[in-house]
Amino acid sequence: MELIGSLEEIVLMILLNHERSNSVDIAKHYHDALNKHISIPAIHVVLKRMEKKGWVKSEFGEPTAERGGRRKRLYSATASAYNMMTQLNSVKSELWKGITKPSLRYEGL
């Protein structure tokens, strides 16, 4: 299984939730979900990397005025990404099960 970075994971999950988004949409969702700002080029880099791994695919959308007449590139997650994420999540929940009575051990939290 190919390794996935944490930012990649979040972006991929956003894409699984919202198909056909561009990087600005992703940034907005990122902000809504985590209440943190993220720079657009950082998303570009992540998207480009994931496109190479075959987890996302892209298509051109319609040009809009606020983009100065430029077309959007819209990204969607692929089937392999979906499979990978389900697999990853089951691994994670398996691991999480192993943590017994967390409240006892980390009482101070």
Binding site: P41, E66, G68, R70, R73
Partner: protein, 856 residues
Amino acid sequence: MKVYDPPAWADRLITKFCPEAKVEEIQGDLHEAFHWRCEERGQTIAQWLFIYETLRVIRPDLSHPLQNVKNYIIMYKIYLRTGWRFLLKHKLYSTLNILGLALGISFCWLAYLYTNDEISYDRHLANHEKLFRIVADFKPSDKTHHIGGSSNAMSLKYAEEIPEIDQVIRIKSSYGMIKKEEETLPQEFLYADQELIDVLGLFMVEGHATSFDLPNDLILSESLAAKLNIRGKAVGHIISLSDENGQTDFIVRGVYEDIPLNTSIRSDMMVSFTAYESASTERSLTTWFNINMNSLVKIHDVASRTLVEEKMTDIHYKNSSHEAETFIKLQPVSQIHLDDTYGHYNGIVGAANIDMMKTFLIIGLFCLIISIINYSNFTVSLYIHRASEIGLRKVVGAGRSSIFSQLITESFLSCILACILALGILAILLPQFSDFIGKNYSLDILINQRFLLGACVILVLTSFLSGAYPALVLSRFSILQSLKGEQKVRSGKWITQGLLALQFMIATGLIAGVITMQKQVNHLANFDTKIDYDNVLMMRIPGSEAKLLQFVNDLKALPEVAEVAAISGYNGTGIETSEQRVEVAHLRLEGDLLSMLDIAVTEGRNFDPNLGSDRSDKVMVNQALVKALGIENPIGATIPFDYGELKNPTIIGVVEDYLYNSAKTKVKPLVIYQSPQYQLNQVYVKLNTTAIFDESLFASIWSDHFDPFPFQFRFLEARYKDEFRAEQLLINLVGTGSAVAIFLATIGLLGMVGLQLGLRLKEVSIRKVLGADNSSLYRLFTSRYLMVISLGIVGGLASSYFSISAWLEGYAYRIDMSMLIVAPTIFIVLIIGISTILGQISRVLRANPVTFLRSE
């Protein structure tokens, strides 16, 4: 709500650096994000974030900077290819252009090389900015004497009493003969303190620097060791040095790597200063102002320089017996070579020839300017062949700036070719050049960071300067006119002709300079010195006076010799009267020098060998002295001359102002005496007119008295002519320079006339068909260029007038800038100019008019 735009410059940055396939997405996204943030967080933050993100885009995993540069490379490759084709198409003009540029560039390189070398003197020494030489400004009268030296007493006292001084290093030059098997080698050497090894950063190949402090210690350079065949086994070797006082043995303590040539203090052999101390009298070592050596001072902190100077001056006043106003100063070691004020002797290698350096720079620049003008003029005149190309480029969408950069690229191409050619020229010229200026340059001096940097600067500047004007003119062509073939250069004509005139101005100036210099030197060489030099030779005697007199006696016995006289050389002192102080030269004489050299006695009488009193308190003076002191009846008058035992002597005769020094300065007042106040050290011999000079005969008598010193002599006439060697060098240089300059200007004229006539071939043909005769056509086409050349001549004469007059000012006996200089200058320039023009015109006129007319 107002819609804002992101900063435009950041936007452009994205287009520059982003690969084209990605620009649309990334730029669009950034814009979208900008508008979103404007609403969410305000315009300012959005703008800053936009800039920040733009900069973030420029990273290797998002954009490939090289991908875009690649397009530029392709474009410039095409520019270069077009330029190359254009060069090939006009082979004659390209060759002239590139040749001219190459000549100009190689002259400039030589000038740069030379200047760079002279400036580099002593700057390689570690801590050179803290290193100074002690000098003195001594003011016994109105005139300040700049004394480049110090005494042993001064050096020691300063080192002891001034805490800011780290070290004082004494050096003194000397001379001796080394015996090597059968031969004796004359060798100059330095007495030096041990610290000099550190200051010069000498690297010891053999032996140690620490054992150089005893009177018998000697170190020498690798090359001298090789010359003496003691490389590798030098340490412990005994070297015998002999001078007039006898022979001394020294032990070689070490061998150092040869000192770089750009060092002012440089010698192949050094002897411990203690040797000098032990050989000198107590008196000469302790006399305060007995200036006979140089001292280097290393101070602790550069800032304390003036303080040290003040302290040194104070100490001087406390110790010196001289009342006169004196300033002891520090001369930075890096200035010693370039600044001639304090002279260069006693261990300091000769000065830079600043005149030569300046002239070289000026000529180099002039040649370059002329060839740059040639390039500009040729390219502009060839415009007609480029017009349609440029028109088409513009139709396809090239802007003015891209046409401009294309033409600059082309000039860069020409300049690179010229540089390669210039390297070849340099390789040929360098040996002669270094011979000429008395240096030792070889080609590997070119592989030097500073030279390469300078060469690049010259290359870039030349290509820009030569390309800028044509590029400006051509990039302004209108599309329609150039495609129709109707484009004319309108404003350019004046500039072109102005530049042509400028070329001739420079050439004229240089030629006028050469002629003036030659005339001035001829004037000095044929100057009435009031001395008869014929058949007189002089020798400097290395031995004592007793030996000298024996030698003179032996010479007198020779049948070839007509007369012999011995003198002390011309030394300087001053006469103090109640009102003034007069600088005078004085000369001790033994024998009848005056009649030997045919020097006229205007009043009174010559020394009488039979009168004993003439040998004590009688003197002869020259007319200049009589005038300077304002004596009405000189014969029998006493003068307040005071030198050694000779006090207030009586004048018995007045001689004409014969030229005893160089003709570059006025004849100074002179006192001649016979009383023995100064050691005799020169012998003058006049040969019989019928005698054939036999050097070996004199040499054998010489070796009877002065072995092992080699027999050396000069004929007075040759010695006098030698005075002007520096001038002659300068003349040769300016002569070569002006030849190159006028050659380049002629190339320019040739090309210009050819090109402009080429555009008017049809006009000429029609005129001929309609019956114009040749002479009227000649007149028609010559007159305009003649105007330009005349303008150049007038300008050149006017502008050179000042610099030539300033140069002449330096000579006491000089010529004026008269018609004798102006006329030949005009003649030379006009002849060259007119013959070039006529040659080009006759080529056109001789052609059959049909060839040019049938094509329409």
